[in-house]
């Protein structure tokens, strides 16, 4: 589904990703772990098409197409979903309008008719259930005045609405209490599908108790220094990232 080859990325002249290689097949869950500043969020942003990054080298093939050639919205329409670490607030834009526009853009791209108001509301009710999203929140402006937990739930709710093929969840666990973490994880797990792959970016092992990965990769100073099964997460938790430093040398 996704193949990343020797991806090198810089921002403002500083190289952040120094040759990433990654292969993700349909239905797999990959966790990317690493200390702060290792380039985890950069990877997510680059895949989603944020423009401030400079691609120095490498390629990203998604569903047989060069992903780096596409605009951010086309990537999204093709099923690449980024759950943001810090979802931005957009004052004055009602959540409902926003997600409706989004869903219908997606459908238009697939050559489908827009949903009728009734269908849309039904879908929204259904998906809100999934993450126990407070009904009031969809009446507010996008992310405005949402608590940290509500913002994260809102991201998973949107993921449920958009049914992506590749979901990249950037630090979805940060700032969540244990109940919220469980709700968010349950939401993600409920969306598991043989055709849907997930990249979970996280600093802590804790999230991986709930979203069990098939593979764990450790990103350190812009490179994947170790890849293994889910047991790697536990090992990291136990030994800390310092262990890696020596390991990578």
């Amino acid at each position: 589904m996704l193949t990343i080859k020797n991806l090198r990325v810089a921002i403002e002249g500083k190289e952040i990703l120094k040759g990433i290689n990654l292969e993700i097949k349909a239905g797999e869950v990959h966790a990317i772990m690493g200390p702060n500043g290792s380039g985890k969020s950069t990877l997510g942003n680059v895949l989603a098409g944020k423009e401030e990054y400079e691609i120095l080298d490498g390629e990203v093939i998604y569903e047989g197409q060069d992903l780096l050639d596409l605009s951010a919205e086309d990537r999204a329409r093709m099923g690449v979903f980024l759950g943001f670490q810090y979802p931005v607030e957009i004052p004055g834009v009602p959540m409902v309008n926003f997600i409706k526009t989004s869903v219908n853009e997606m459908r238009k791209f697939k050559g489908l008719e827009p949903l009728t108001a009734g269908e849309f509301l039904k879908l929204m009710r259904e998906k809100k259930e999934l993450v126990h999203l407070d009904s009031q929140l969809t009446n507010r402006s996008v992310n405005e005045g949402f608590s940290g937990g509500e913002k994260k739930k809102n991201e998973i709710f949107q993921m449920a609405m958009l049914e992506p093929k590749l979901a990249i969840l950037d630090e979805t666990d940060s700032g969540l209490d244990i109940d919220a973490l469980r709700i968010v994880s349950d939401g993600v797990n409920a969306l598991k599908h043989p055709e849907r792959s997930t990249i979970v970016i996280t600093h802590y092992q804790r999230l991986l108790d709930y979203i069990v990965p098939d593979f764990v990769h450790v990103l350190y100073q812009g490179q994947i220094v170790k890849s293994a099964g889910k047991e790697l997460a536990l090992e990291l938790e136990e030994k800390g990232y310092d262990w890696l430093k020596n390991h990578s040398l």
């Binding site: 098409g49 423009e51 401030e52 329409r77 931005v88 957009i90 004055g92 526009t101 989004s102 402006s141």
Partner: protein, 481 residues
């Protein structure tokens, strides 16, 4: 980044969609202005002597006045002798039913998307349409008459209610108020008059549509609204003009008088032709709008959505004379391409416990300049008065300008005035968030801009809000070509 700039450019270079010329015959007098022209205008309208004197008095004052130069505008020289001061649709504008109306006119309204008939009946809006300053049609007159409400063309009011006109004309905007108000007072050809008697709540929105049509003409209409004690009215005003290469002058005056506990809501969606992408043509819009809260606990609110005109010079104001009276100003002003706007308000607190609120949202794109200018003046006697002002500017692109010029003058110790202003660009992270959810950049900009302006758009009556949102969309988003 470059891509985004390109899209921003495409999005912001949307063409004017209301630029058609209606082909119905008008009757004009020759270009130029002197006392004889004024006498001709007055005679054509069969006006009483006091109206002629009002006009001549204004004209003589106008001759003494310099053109104002303090606004943040580059105004090309205007030759006031090269303008036709009177242009009226040839058919006498007195229609009993729509069948009598020039079919071109009906077509005009249809193009404007103004459903003059059934839809307005359903919507319950009474419409007075003013084309080239002459009122052509007032609907719902009878229904309103039953409640004692007068809603008619200004000319008609002069004939039928001269006492009311004599009493209130010039009360809020005296002939000598400013250069353009004096000019308007001298030459105005028509407009709307609205009178709400004591204790009456006007059951429907009253609406006037203004349109400049004939070439080489200036439009000078005059609106007067009088709300007697305990009355209420919501008044809407819409404006469009055809695309023309030359600039057209529009210098209107709106006066509102609110007596004890009366409330007047005045909403405008202004979409005069802004000129083309190179800045050629477009309307020069110099408008004086002022309301006086004469009565205790009276309230006047101005809500405006300004997307049109090459030059906008406009400061809808409230004189808060009555104790406990309230003034509001809510504005969205969009400038694009070569447009220039200098707009804002004056809130003059005279009575005790008076309150005013100012919400201004400026949006600049292209190479335009958009300025907010406002005065909040609290006189020593206006004890316990309050004002809150919020003036925000949003910049789309690095070649436009956003400017803020508030004046605050407070003369007593018990009043509180607060002013806040911010300037920001449209957030790249907001656009990216929308992109990531499959929404294109131009739709994202439209969405974000409408969200930014929402606080003001929400103050508009329903029918208008929809139109205003579309207008914002046309000004800044929409598909290209």
């Amino acid at each position: 980044m470059e891509e985004q700039d390109k899209i921003l450019h495409e999005v912001t270079s949307q063409e004017y969609k209301f630029g058609f010329v209606s082909d119905f015959e008008s009757e004009s007098i020759p270009k130029g202005l002197n006392e004889d022209v004024i006498r001709v205008i007055s005679a054509k309208k069969n006006e009483p002597e006091f109206m002629l004197q009002f006009r001549l008095d204004a004209y003589r004052k106008w001759l003494e006045m310099p053109m104002p130069d303090w606004a943040y505008l580059k105004i090309p020289p205007i030759d006031f002798q090269d303008i036709i001061y009177y242009s009226a649709p040839k058919t006498k504008p007195q229609y009993e039913s729509l069948d009598e109306v020039d079919p071109d006119l009906i077509e005009t309204f249809n193009k404007l998307g103004i459903p003059l008939e059934e839809q307005k009946v359903l919507a319950g809006v009474a419409v007075d349409a003013v084309i080239d300053s002459v009122s052509v049609k007032t609907t719902f007159k009878e229904t309103l008459a039953e409640k004692g409400i007068i809603f008619c063309s200004f000319s008609e009011a002069v004939q039928e209610h001269p006492d009311l006109i004599k009493k209130y004309l010039g009360m809020a905007v005296p002939t000598s108020d400013n250069f353009f108000a004096a000019l308007n007072s001298a030459v105005f050809s028509d407009g709307s008059f609205c009178y709400i008697p004591k204790g009456v709540r006007c059951p429907m929105e009253l609406s006037t549509y203004f349109r400049i049509n004939a070439a080489g003409t200036g439009q000078f209409e005059r609106t007067l609204i009088v709300a007697e004690d305990e009355s209420y009215v919501s008044y809407l005003e819409g404006c469009t003009a055809p695309m023309r290469d030359e600039n057209q002058l529009h210098a209107a005056v709106v006066e509102i008088i609110a007596l004890d506990r009366a409330e007047v809501k005045y909403s405008t969606v202004q979409n005069w032709y802004p000129g083309n992408k190179e800045g050629k043509g477009g309307v020069y819009n110099f408008v004086t709008k002022r309301g006086i809260c004469r009565g205790v606990s009276s309230k006047i609110s101005w809500t405006q959505v300004e997307t049109g005109s090459a030059i906008t010079w406009k400061y809808p104001s409230c004189i808060l004379m009555g104790d406990n009276s309230v003034g509001e100003f809510n504005s969205v002003a969009v400038t694009n391409n070569h447009q220039q706007a200098d707009t804002g308000t004056k809130m003059v607190h005279i009575g005790k416990n008076t309150k005013s609120t100012i919400i201004s949202k400026g949006i600049s794109a292209g190479v335009s300049n958009n300025a907010y200018r406002g005065l909040v003046k609290v006189l020593p006697g206006a004890v316990n008065s309050r004002n809150f002002s919020q003036c925000d500017s949003l910049l789309l692109g690095s070649t436009c300008g956003a400017h803020t010029f508030p004046y605050i003058e407070v003369g007593n110790k018990s009043s509180v005035v607060e002013h806040e202003a911010t300037t920001s660009k449209i957030g790249e992270d907001q656009i990216f968030y929308c992109n990531q959810r499959g929404i294109s950049t131009e739709d994202a900009i439209g969405m974000i801009v409408n969200g930014y302006a929402k606080e003001v758009l929400n103050k508009l009556p329903m029918e208008f809000a929809v139109e205003a949102q579309k207008l914002l969309a046309i000004s800044l988003e929409g598909s290209v070509g």
